[in-house]
Every structure is written in structure tokens, then in C-alpha cells.
Amino acid sequence: MKVDSSEAVYAGMKDAGIDFAVSVPCVNLRTVLEMVDADPAIMHVPVTREEEGFGVAAGAHMAGKTTAILMQNSGLGNSVNVLASLYSLYHIPITMIVSHRGTEGEFMEAQVPMGRATGDILRILEIPFRTPRSPAEARESIGELTDISLRTSKAVAVLLDVSYW
């Protein structure tokens, strides 16, 4: 894992004004999580399951926070209902920063089925997403997608493939 790939994600979050983050860890997000945790300007709430994290972030949004969730794509499957019947229904924004396992270079076979399903699940939920290929693109994508999220009151996602790191 290159440090600049993690730094770019963190810098993108800072550019975007994210001040509240919930997380379920992924090994590829390890360094980003350390950076977020060390930043007193971002309230970081580790959660037990991604669905719950979306609930916590929704409450923070109501109080005016700019929110993000740091998660692995496996957690998208745990969160389909909350994305539809809370986020889509009430028009709640959030920036999903997703370690996309099961993509090219994945060493664990078990990650592959959910890795393949991830893009289609996001499409069917009408969640705009991008797959940046470089740290510079990742930083820019997080900023731009967060703007779209806040302007349209929708969830958005940045997918960070295995090869990104």
C-alpha cells in the first residue's frame, strides 16, 4: 500500500469539508482510518455494521454535519435497505468511500462475487459513483462527488479498487 494513495483519500475528505465519519474497517483503508482518527476536526464513530453507520451518519447530517462512511464493498450488501428507505426516501446526502475488494489483483476468492455485484447494486440504487485510478483522481473525485451529494441530497460513492492501492 502506497502512502500517497491513502493521503489522497484523506486530502479529498478534507477538501470536501467532511467533518463526521463512520467506519467499518478494511485492511486497504487502514492508513486512511488512522488519519481520520487522528484529526480532531473529524468526528469519527467506528460502528459494528455498515447499515448502522448509515443511521448514525443520517442523524449527524440532520445536525448539519458533512458526512462520510469508510467501508468495504461487502458492507454495501448490508446497507441496501437503509440506502433505499432512509437515504433515498428522505433525500439524505453522504459520501461513501469504499474499498472495492474482489477486483483485479484480489487474492481472496471469497471477495470476488460481491466485488462483481457492487457496481450493479449502486446503479440499481441510483447512487452516482466513480472509480479513480490514481491518487490525484481519487482526491478530485471525493471533492466533486461530495459537491454533487450535497447539491442533490443523495448518497454518492467512490470505489477504490484493489489496484488503486
Partner: protein
């Protein structure tokens, strides 16, 4: 005599002043709406189990006290959320469990709250637990240090109340205005 749920909601919200209320989906929200409506209420229409988590995020992000009106079925659907709330431990959070030991909105199928004591579960997590019986004097819960878990046994069943005639956007927009209006001074 054990209270009907609508009576319990009446007594609890009757002693609230400035508190923000996150109300569980289905009949609990309909019952609250029919008793008294307020911009301080957030009525859930979907995403069962999320009330306590929304309440946690709200409590961590501003200073006003947050009262979550939750049910046993919903608490059980997101028991991990209760762990996070206990670990984060915001002093301005009160989770009220309206425990009828069943999924009343869907036809009163039993939950495991029938055999598992959720008050004891919350206590083991570190909540300050208060157990009410028929004499539901909610001011006692308001006087406690948070995070509070108030266990309120109620009878199974729903009151005959109409659906909420607000749409989701109206519910959240006026709630956000209420919350941010007070915090962004």
C-alpha cells in the same frame, strides 16, 4: 394494569420540553403523530432498526437532548447499534424501549424480548437503565445522567390511528430546520 403503547407515548412526550424525538417506524410514529405533532419529531417511515442509530448520530452532533422511541423488534434488528451507542456514551441520549414483546405493526408475532431481558442487556453494555412499571413518570428518566435506557413494558397491539399525512421530505426538512436553527446561532 400495563399501559397501552399510545398511553406510554402520551405520558413520555407529555413531559418533554426542548428534547428532539426520533420515533420508530410503523404504528409508534402514527400514534405519536396522532397524540401531538411537532417539528421536534422525526417520524421514521422505513429502515427498521435505525432509530437508535439516528438518535446516536444526532446526540453526538449537537447539544440538545435526544429521545429515541424504539421498539423491541427494532432494537433486536440492530443490537450492534446499541453497542455503539453505549461505547460512544453521549450524555444527551435517552433510548426508550417500548417493549410489547412482539412485532405489533405486522400482526403481533412474538419477538425474543419475550425470553431475553433487553433492560439487562442494555445494563450490561453500560447504559444507565431505568425500569418503569405502570406508574410511568418519565421525569425520572429525564433527571438521570445519560446515556439512559428506559425500559417501558406496554401491552401488545396498536391504537386505531390514521397514517401520517406528511411526506418524507416535509418530515426531514422541518426537523432539520428545528435542529440547525437552534445549533447554528
Amino acid at each position: 394494569m400495563m399501559l397501552e403503547r399510545i398511553e406510554a407515548i402520551e405520558r413520555i412526550t407529555g413531559v418533554l420540553e426542548d428534547e428532539l424525538v426520533i420515533c420508530n417506524l410503523g404504528f409508534p410514529s402514527r400514534e405519536l403523530y396522532s397524540i401531538r405533532d411537532s417539528p421536534r419529531h422525526f417520524y421514521m417511515l422505513g429502515s427498521m432498526g435505525m432509530a437508535s442509530s439516528i438518535g446516536l448520530g444526532l446526540a453526538l452532533s449537537q447539544e440538545r437532548r435526544v429521545v429515541v422511541l424504539d421498539g423491541d423488534g427494532s432494537i433486536l434488528m440492530n443490537l450492534g447499534g446499541l453497542v455503539t451507542a453505549a461505547a460512544q456514551s453521549p450524555g444527551n441520549l435517552i433510548i426508550v424501549l417500548l417493549d410489547n414483546r412482539c412485532y405489533a405493526t405486522t400482526g403481533s408475532q412474538c419477538t425474543y424480548a419475550d425470553v431475553i431481558d433487553l433492560g439487562a442487556v442494555a445494563e450490561s453494555m453500560g447504559f444507565n437503565v431505568i425500569r418503569f412499571a405502570d406508574d410511568l413518570n418519565f421525569e425520572q428518566a429525564l433527571a438521570m445522567d445519560g446515556p439512559v435506557f428506559a425500559h417501558v413494558p406496554v401491552k401488545p397491539g396498536n391504537a386505531d390511528v390514521p397514517v401520517i399525512d406528511l411526506d418524507a421530505e416535509e418530515i426531514i426538512e422541518r426537523f432539520i430546520k428545528e435542529v440547525r436553527g437552534a445549533t447554528e446561532d
